[in-house]
Structure formats: C-alpha cells, structure tokens
C-alpha cells in the first residue's frame, strides 16, 4: 500500500524503498550501456527522433513525438537544489517546490492542481541536491492548458503568507514520515553532515527542522526571482504531440517570460578528506544494525563516472553480485545495496548493508569493506564486466519503453552531461570501460581515508 501521493518526493535518495521494482528505477541514477552487435533496435528511440530548439530567452526545449498512447508529458528541469542553499535556509529549494503549486496570478491558490486534473492531467515534482524537476502527465489534447499553467507560475508566482504556513506543516510531516519509515533516510542525513565539511551537500535535501520552521516570505520571494528564470531551465515534452504545435505554444507562453542574470555559481569546493570519519545514530525500533559507507567521488561529468557506475553494479546488482554472494548468501546481511547519484559537484558513492540477526555492526562493516577491497586488490573478471554492461543496456531499453521514462531521462542527461544526446553516446562510453578501469577507480576512491562510516542501531556498542 502506498500511503502518500508520490508528489513532492524529495529525491530518489531512498534506494532501499525501490527494492523489488528494479525495472522501474529509471529515475536519477539511470545509466545506459550497450553492445553494438546482435540487438534489433528498429523501433527504439534514437537521437535523431528528438528535436530541440531554444527560445529567445534561452529556455531550451526538447521534443519527442511518440503516439503509442494518447498522452504526453512535460518535464521542467530547474538548475536549483539544496546545493544552492546556505545554513539558515536549508531545505528551501524543496520547500519552494511545494510553493510552486500554491497560486499565481491567473491561477490562484489550489487552481493549478484543480485546472490540471479537470483537464485529465496529473503532476508531481522532485527536488535533489542539484535540481528541481516538475512533471506533468496529461492527455495530449490538454497540452495548451499545461503550457498556460506552467507559464503562469514561472512568470507570476504569488507567494501567499497563509499558504506558506500550512505548507510548513506538510513539509514537516514529509520530513517526519521519511525518518519514521526509512532507515536509509535516517542514517544518510547524519552521514552527509559528517562526510562533507564545507560543501552544501552536507545537509539533506529536506533541510534542518529549525530552518523549515524559520524561513520567511522574503527568502522565498528572493529564491523565485533568483532561480526561476527561463534561462535556468530545460524543458522536455514527449508523447502524442507535434513539433510544430509545441513550438507555437512555447513561443506563445514561455518566450515572453524574460531571461535574468544567471544565479551566482556555487563556489565551495569540498576539501580533500584525509582520514576515516564515523557517525552513530540510535533508533530503538531498529531490529538489526544498518551500516552505511560513503566515499567521495567526482562529479557525473568526470570521465570516471562510467567506471564507477559499473563498479556499483558489480558490487550490488542482482543475486550474482559481489555483495549478494559475499554477504547475503552467507547470511551476514539481509541486503546490501549501492547508490551513486548523478551530481553536478563531486559527491558520494553510498553503500548500505542491513545486518542479519546475530551479526553486529562491526562485522557487517568489515564484510562490506572486504568485498570492496577484493576488487581493489584482485580486480574484476571479464565475465562480470560484460554482465553489468548487459544490465545497463537492459535498463536503457526499459527506460525508453514509456513516454515518462524518455522525458525524464532526456532531461536528466541534458542537465548532468550538458547535452541530451549524450544519452545515446552512453553505450559507447560504457563499452570502453575495461576491467583495469574498474580496479583503478576502486583503488582511487573506495579507500579508507576517503570513507565515512555511519551506523544505525537500537543501542550503541559499549566502550569496553
């Protein structure tokens, strides 16, 4: 049972909850790989199926015509996330995401949702460390309504004091329910604050409780003015639409919104970590310890991204993975997963293990580290490498199976790699990764001095 609406999810920062839905996890960490031989890709989308154009105000729009169902999507990717925050206003990017639904000039409070739903559409949004993404899913004949709704809130958002107060309660509940129901979220929040000494990735996307309670109307108004300018966004429209119609509506609704000076760059560079860091979190209802390891890794645009992504899959994807074979099958862990978010700045490569009964946190930690070190010392087999390349190709096709997957992935690639068509280059990039590359990135990044260890358990181990 799903209790909450998926809207306003914080980010895909809870991979554990995605377990069992492997073929639906295209969002965020999507990766693509391919081998050029053997597969008939006659009907699969290729780069030439996508048209893109840029409005005079520098808003870039990508269009993919796909009439497989009578529906379409519009995704708006804004370059603003918790990375753009400072202490005192942590969580404001995500809070602002909520406020974007709470009324503007033409469509007042509640009218964004009411208008869209009456036209057969639904929406959602998510905020990550790097960006805020708005998602609209609708029958294709509602396209103009969606343009009208989006243009109104981009150009004319009305931040109402009363709405701010009720939305504070909503976000506080979102924060609470995340901590209540997700061990991942609980431990990750503490771990990030230790792993980052300077960079704003230090705090969770939802922010500190005291900041949620404290931000002001002026903070929000400033945020909208700074970040919600058309030159700070890219838009993807996929589905049963025609390019000419999209161009006409984009010019009519989005083009009149003026560009603004680009936001200030994030200047802080996280200093080099020079030794292991540790953090412990107590939660009485945790039945067996959870151990999270995090290692600093480069930004997604770095050449090592592909090797690290394949390393992640070798460690944890499928029951033939290193973690399953070395830990789960041996009854040390009940699960062990990895997660490496796409990221504008250097970020973390996460590993989470959940102990089996009778296994203490220390043994689980040593078991996880042993598996990592085996790769650093002995490398990986050619069979393992080919396997994860095939897994990535499979994920790619599953992503391209729906208009939703296509829209999300095209925009994600445009944001993290600078060009959406890098999505279609990815197979070659993965194919060039060698077993030596995998071993090298393990030796370079997954080392003790670069590691933060988080433990979540019912009781802290004694000093004796």
């Amino acid at each position: 049972m799903t209790l909450d609406f998926q809207r306003f999810i914080l980010t895909i920062n809870d991979r554990k909850q995605l377990k069992g839905a492997k073929y639906e996890t295209y969002a965020n960490g999507v990766a693509v790989v391919g081998r050029s031989c053997g597969t008939s890709v006659v009907n699969a989308t290729t780069a030439k199926d996508i048209d893109s154009f840029t409005l005079d105000n520098s808003m870039k729009i990508m269009v993919l015509e796909d009439s497989s169902i009578p529906n379409a999507n519009m995704y708006l990717f804004w370059k603003v996330g918790s990375r753009n925050e400072v202490p005192g206003i942590t969580g404001i990017s995500h809070f602002f995401e909520h406020m974007m639904f709470n009324g503007s000039k033409k469509y007042g409070p509640k009218m964004f949702d009411r208008t869209m739903e009456a036209a057969g559409g639904a929406n959602n949004a998510y905020t990550t460390e790097d960006m805020t993404v708005y998602t609209n899913w609708f029958p294709a004949n509602a396209l103009e309504t969606i343009f009208d709704l989006e243009a109104d809130r981009i150009a004319n958002l009305d931040i109402n004091a009363e709405m701010v107060e009720s939305e504070r309660g909503v976000v506080q509940s979102e924060r609470t329910t995340g901590l209540e129901n997700s061990n991942w979220r609980t431990i990750q929040e503490a771990l990030k604050s230790v792993a980052f000494a300077a960079h704003p990735y230090s705090w969770s996307v939802i922010g500190y409780e005291s900041d949620i309670a404290a931000w002001t109307l002026a903070d929000l108004q400033q945020y909208h003015k700074t970040y919600y300018a058309p030159n700070n966004a890219v838009v993807v429209i996929a589905g049963d639409v025609k390019l000419a119609e999209v161009k006409k509506l984009a010019n009519q609704y989005f083009a009149p919104i003026p560009a603004q000076a680009p936001p200030k760059a994030v200047r802080t560079v996280e200093p080099l970590q020079k030794g292991e860091r540790r953090v412990f979190v107590k939660k009485e209802s945790v039945t067996t310890p959870n151990v999270m390891l995090a290692y600093h890794v480069p930004a997604t645009s770095h050449a090592d991204y592909y090797a690290l992504d394949l390393l992640s899959a070798i460690l944890s994807q499928g029951n033939s993975s290193r973690f399953y074979q070395g830990l789960v099958d041996k009854q040390i862990a009940t699960e062990a997963v990895t997660y490496m978010p796409m990221s504008f700045d250097p970020n973390l490569f996460y590993i989470l293990g959940v102990a089996n009964s009778g296994i203490d946190a220390k043994n689980l930690e040593l078991g996880l580290i042993e598996q990592i070190n085996l790769i650093a010392t002995d490398g990986v087999t050619s069979n393992e490498l080919e396997k994860v390349k095939n897994l990535k190709l499979m994920e790619f096709y599953q992503t391209m199976e729906t208009i939703n997957g296509k829209a999300d992935t095209l925009g994600t690639y445009e944001m993290y790699f600078g060009r959406f068509d890098k999505l279609f280059d990815a197979p070659d990039r993965y194919n060039t990764v060698t077993a030596e590359d995998i071993q090298r990135v393990a030796q370079t990044y997954l080392i003790r001095a670069n590691r933060t260890v988080g433990v979540l358990a019912a009781t802290e181990e004694s000093d004796k």
Partner: protein, 471 residues
C-alpha cells in the same frame, strides 16, 4: 507482485470540463485508448497463453500466474515461500547458476505470491529468448527446492519480517486485513509471520507446488518484441508435455465472510514512533462488481488524487500530513475499503477527526457536477499510462485470468466513465462506502495515543514486535 486492478482502484481518474444537464452524463474527450491486439491460445493440457506483440523496444516480458495464493495457505506464508522457493535451483541447475546466467544477459526473473495468485515474471532482451525460456519453464515445472538454499532463505525471511516492522507504512495493510477478515483466508498475510515461516518445511513447499502448479491452473502472458508463431512453437515445446496431476482444490472464499457489527481499534504500539500511521475503513467490493468503474470515479473525489477531499482537508488546508488518501482493494469474492494517512503523534486526534468529518461529506453533501466532471476527466486521462509498459500489459492479462474479466475492462472503461451521472454517484455512496462500524488500525506510541484510540471503538493493544499482524 501487485494486482493491477487493485492499484487502478487506488489511483485513477480522467477528462476535461464540460456541462451536464439533468440526468445526462457529460462526455469529455481525452483521446481514445483501447487494449492492443493479442492472441489467446489454450494448449491441450489446459495452459492458457496470451501473446501481445509490442515492438517499441527489443524486450520481452513473460509472466506466469498460478491460481494459488495466501488464501490457500495451510501454514501462513506457504504460498509466498513456495513461489520464492522456485528460484532455489531447477532441473538440476543451482540457484547461483540460474542467477548468474540471467544476470549475465541483463535479464531478471522475479517470483512472488499475493492473496490469490502466484507469479513468475521475467524481463529480458528479445535476442535472448532461447536462453531465458528454458530457465523460465524449469523454474515453474521442475523446481529442485534445495534444502540448503531453503534453510538460508527461510532464515532471511524470518529476520526480514521483523525488519519490515521498522516501517509502519510497510506493514499497516497486513494488520488491517487481519482486523477485517480475522480467520477468513483473506486475513492471511501473504508474507506469513516470523513464527509460521520458521515452521515451514521443504516438504510442504514440494506438496504445495505439486497440488497447485498445474497447466490447467496457470496462464502465461507474453508481451514484447517477438514473432507469435515462433513463440507458439517454442512454448508448445517447453510447456506442451506439462501434465495435470490432481484437481487443484480451491476454498470457497465467499463463505464465512465477516460481518462487522461494532467499531474496533487495533492499536499497535511502537514506543519510539514519532508519528501515528493510521487506516480507517471496512469491507469493500469484489473484483467482479459491475459498479467498479463508477466507484473508482467516486473514490477519486474522496481520496484518489491530489485535489481529493481527504488530501485537500488534511494536507492542503490543515498541514497535518504529507498525504491522505482512500481506496478500494477488491479481491475475487470480497474486498476492503480504507482511508489512510499519518501525522505527528501530537495531532493524532485532530487528523482522525478531520478524516472522519471529511468522509462524512459523502453522505452529508454529496458530489457536485463540476467535481464529478473533473474526476471523470482525471480518471480517463490517467488511464492509458497504466497500460503502457510490457510488464503492465502482462500484469493486466494475468489479472484477467485470475479474476475472470475480459477486454471490456479496458475497452469499455471510457464509456462507463462517460456514462456516470450525479444520480449514479448518490447510489454508489449509499450502497458501497462503509458508513457504520468503522475499523481502525493505529501504529504509534501507545503511551501518547491510547486515550485517543479508545474514543473510536473497542481497543485491542499489541506491540509491533509481537509476531504476526494481530489476532
């Protein structure tokens, strides 16, 4: 594995605005959507096969459903463990070998059981059909049920059942079904509980497999990039010799269904809870109910979309929660209806009272024309996206087999929504939404909320660490 229909009931909607006069229903155009063409064949042994070609990506989904689930459990969790046990080695190939072979192709194979069905589903690149099909068939027909692997799986499942209780949201549905159905088979949690799963033996799994995994008790649905005549030949080769052994015995689930005569509250104590997670509801409808589509529309207004009454009141107006919703979960012979949300411990009473007050609007004020028009538009507009992927379409066809409905579910959906009038909604509200003797499950810190719980009915308090999901 989830039931497609149930999830539709939880989350549907669709159309654009227009006007209705008197008892004439509004029709809003949202684009035509019908089920893609497919073939159904029945092999001589009774195995039903559905084949639907979809060539957008070079993938195939192959999904088998066996008519057996937790309702058939003799020990709680048996159906689920039997389904999971299929992957412990088959036709002499070890668990690790099977997993390695599938993973190498980028393929996946998942098994599971819910109330009334057991599922084996595989997703793979179409070029690998001849490598995956033998594994798929071996797993279904010739599982080895290896003792060593079973012992390991069993131990992990027992620990996993305790770990799941760390998240109230993950388990509250099981407590609610147990409260509603008690000893009726619909009260059986498909996961079993930590004590029952610990008692299971490999011989029970073998016997269960022998009794129910038979061709005339199974359907296979294949969706994706393949040639139907080639596929038929291949399927006949691997499944044609599968023999029926005995008649699969099915309990009559329409017998001994509960009658709810008083309000009850199951209070599940989780001392370190920082919020209260709760469900309020009662009996719902069965899958074959002719008013299913109409109820989907009415529920959309109450608690099935973002602007629903429940979400609007509890979240948007009051800021008490991140989300509130309602929905029918239909089974073949019964079902449940529930309102669900969560709030911080201090606002538990406020949130429950507001949920009840909002629910009462169904009878006190009813639905107005503009809201009905919007809900109809929403239900129709979102419908096609639920049947876009191969896995969704294969799941739909599995449900058709299991619950005995046909293409009309998709092809008549828009017409049924279009035809719904205000008068219809009044009848549906009176007839189906439980108004009396509501049942409650509250998971939270009992020290803080026990006094609140007793205001809503007869309270039974248990600890979340107790084995199982209630009496």
């Amino acid at each position: 594995m989830t039931c497609t229909l149930a999830s539709v009931a939880m989350l549907s909607g669709c159309a654009t605005s227009s006007k209705e006069v008197g008892g004439v229903a509004t029709v809003v155009e949202t684009g035509r959507f019908s089920l893609p063409q497919y073939q159904t064949i029945t092999l001589e042994n009774g195995l039903k096969v559905n084949m639907m070609v979809q060539k957008e990506v070079p993938l195939i989904t192959m999904s088998a459903v066996v008519r057996v689930g937790a309702v058939n459990d003799t020990t709680s969790g048996l159906a689920s463990m039997t389904a999971d046990g299929l992957m412990l080695g088959a036709a002499g190939q070890s668990k690790a070998d099977i997993e390695q072979t599938l993973d190498f192709m980028g393929a996946s194979l998942q098994t599971g059981a819910d109330n009334e069905g057991s599922y084996i589903s595989t997703h793979f690149m179409s070029k690998d059909l001849d490598k995956v099909l033998p594994i798929f068939s071996h797993v279904i027909l010739q599982p080895d049920f290896d003792q060593t692997e079973f012992t390991k799986l069993q131990q992990r499942q027992v620990v996993g059942l305790s770990q799941q209780k760390e998240s109230p949201r993950a388990v509250i549905g099981r407590y609610f079904n147990k409260l509603i159905f008690a000893q009726h088979p619909y009260g059986n949690p498909s996961s079993g509980n930590s004590e029952s799963v610990a008692q299971l033996t490999i011989d029970q799994l073998r016997a269960f497999h022998q009794s129910y995994y038979q061709p005339n008790n199974t359907a296979i649905s294949i969706v994706g990039d393949f040639n139907p005549s080639d596929m038929r030949t291949k399927l006949e080769a691997v499944f044609g010799q599968w023999q029926n052994t005995e008649v699969a015995v099915q309990a009559d689930l329409s017998q001994a269904l509960p009658t709810l005569t008083k309000s009850r509250v199951l209070l599940v104590d989780k001392p370190d809870a920082i919020e209260t997670t709760f469900v309020i509801g009662g009996l719902g409808i069965s899958m074959d109910n002719p008013d299913y589509v109409g109820l989907t529309v009415v529920n959309t207004i109450l608690g099935g979309r973002f602007t629903s009454w429940l979400n609007d009141e509890l979240r948007v107006n009051a800021g008490l929660t991140y989300g509130a919703r309602s929905g029918f979960s239909p089974y073949s012979k019964a079902g449940v209806f529930q309102i669900s949300t969560f709030t911080k411990a201090d606002t538990t009473k406020e949130a429950i009272d507001l949920a009840l007050k909002t629910y009462a609007r169904l009878w006190e004020k009813g639905i107005d024309q503009a809201t009905l028009n919007s809900a109809k538009a929403y239900v129709k507009g979102q419908f096609p996206t639920k049947y876009e992927k191969a896995s969704q379409l294969a799941g739909l066809m599995s449900d058709m087999y299991l619950y005995g409905f046909n293409d009309d579910f998709i092809n008549q959906f828009q017409t049924k929504v279009d035809g719904l009038t205000l008068a219809d909604t009044e009848r549906l509200i009176k007839q189906y939404f439980p108004q009396q003797h509501l049942q409650y499950v509250l998971i939270g810190n009992a020290a803080k909320i026990a006094d609140i719980a007793k205001q809503y009915g007869e309270v039974t308090q248990i600890s979340i660490t107790d084995s199982g999901f209630g009496q």
